[in-house]
């Protein structure tokens, strides 16, 4: 729905700061944390997904307008397709289930 436009864009600023923090945490987890490969992959993929969701809500106003529901459905649907494509391809081609 129509969002009240306050004078200061807090939503954008918070989204921006969160994105910076998430990027730096992912960098730390990947290069300096010393965790095992599996844990690192789980952490950085989770952080990337959170950051993508922040962009969708705070920058792209996905739920706005009377079509907000449809817009959200499209994104959930395509995220589903993307996960199946990527995870399925890796499963079949990299782990020898062919």
């Amino acid at each position: 729905m129509a969002k009240k436009c306050s004078h200061f864009p807090w939503q954008h600023l918070i989204g921006f700061l969160l994105s910076i923090v998430l990027t730096l945490v992912a960098l730390w987890a990947g290069l300096y944390s010393g965790f095992s490969m599996t844990i690192i992959i789980v952490i950085i993929v989770t952080l990337a997904s959170v950051q993508a969701i922040i962009q969708l809500f705070m920058f792209m106003h996905m739920t706005e307008s009377s079509n907000g529901k449809h817009q959200t459905h499209v994104m959930i649907h395509s995220a589903f397709i993307a996960v199946i494509l990527v995870a399925g391809t890796i499963w079949v081609l990299s782990y020898g289930f062919h």
Binding site: A2, C5, A26, A48, Q55, S65, H77, S78, I81, I90
Partner: protein
């Protein structure tokens, strides 16, 4: 069909952004979300092939030898900041500030150009180091995935220049605000894709090198 009824009342409210005030505007924006859904499928196939080809270096350089934290972070923060300034541009547009909108779009444009400059420099550097599109399956996957994103950024920059010209000529109307909003969705989407390139290509590549 709820679209049919949606023109009654609530969209004429004075605080409804201009780009949502017409049926066409709302449907164009929904249509663009559907396009972005297709783009997600496109990039998913490129990510899938890239990830499957990790490790197929064919005696060429490995990503761990070539990726540098500093360059990747500069590109990441340039694009992330441009996504933020693009959001500010929309914020200004909804306050009916044409000048604010154009200024923030201009800054977004410059940051996008900066990103593109660094990416081209990075590609040229890799080619000098012996990693090109034809070096190995891995580098083919890399250049196709990251290059497709770079091509999208180039397209976004051209689009934004044309839109700024239209804004100067026509000001804020239902049509121009809808065009700006759709372009802003595209630009934010490019940052979303980059988040995953940063994670799956660069960070993962550097982690493997460390580990």
């Amino acid at each position: 069909m709820e679209y049919v009824h949606s023109d009654n009342g609530k969209h004429d409210a004075p605080d409804t952004p201009l780009e949502y005030q017409s049926e066409t505007g709302r449907l164009n924006i929904l249509g663009f979300w559907v396009f972005l859904g297709a783009e997600i499928a496109l990039f998913a196939t490129l990510f899938a092939s890239y990830l499957v080809l990790v490790g197929r270096y064919a005696d060429g350089p490995t990503p761990g030898e070539l990726f540098e934290v500093k360059g990747v972070l500069i590109e990441t923060f340039l694009l992330l900041t441009s996504s933020f300034t693009c959001g500010l541009a929309i914020h200004e547009m909804r306050r009916n500030s044409l000048k604010g909108l154009i200024v923030w779009l201009g800054i977004t444009l410059l940051l996008g150009l900066g990103f593109l400059g660094f990416e081209i420099y990075e590609f040229v550097h890799y080619i000098h180091e012996g990693a090109s599109l034809t070096t190995s399956a891995y580098w083919s996957g890399f250049f196709v995935l990251v290059g497709t994103h770079g091509a999208h950024v180039t397209m976004g920059i051209a689009w934004m220049i044309l839109i700024i010209i239209q804004l100067v000529q026509r000001g804020l109307t239902k049509q121009t605000t809808r065009k700006v909003f759709v372009a802003s969705l595209y630009w934010h989407f490019l940052d979303v894709v980059w988040i995953f390139i940063f994670t799956a290509v660069y960070l993962y590549g550097m982690v493997m090198h460390h580990g």
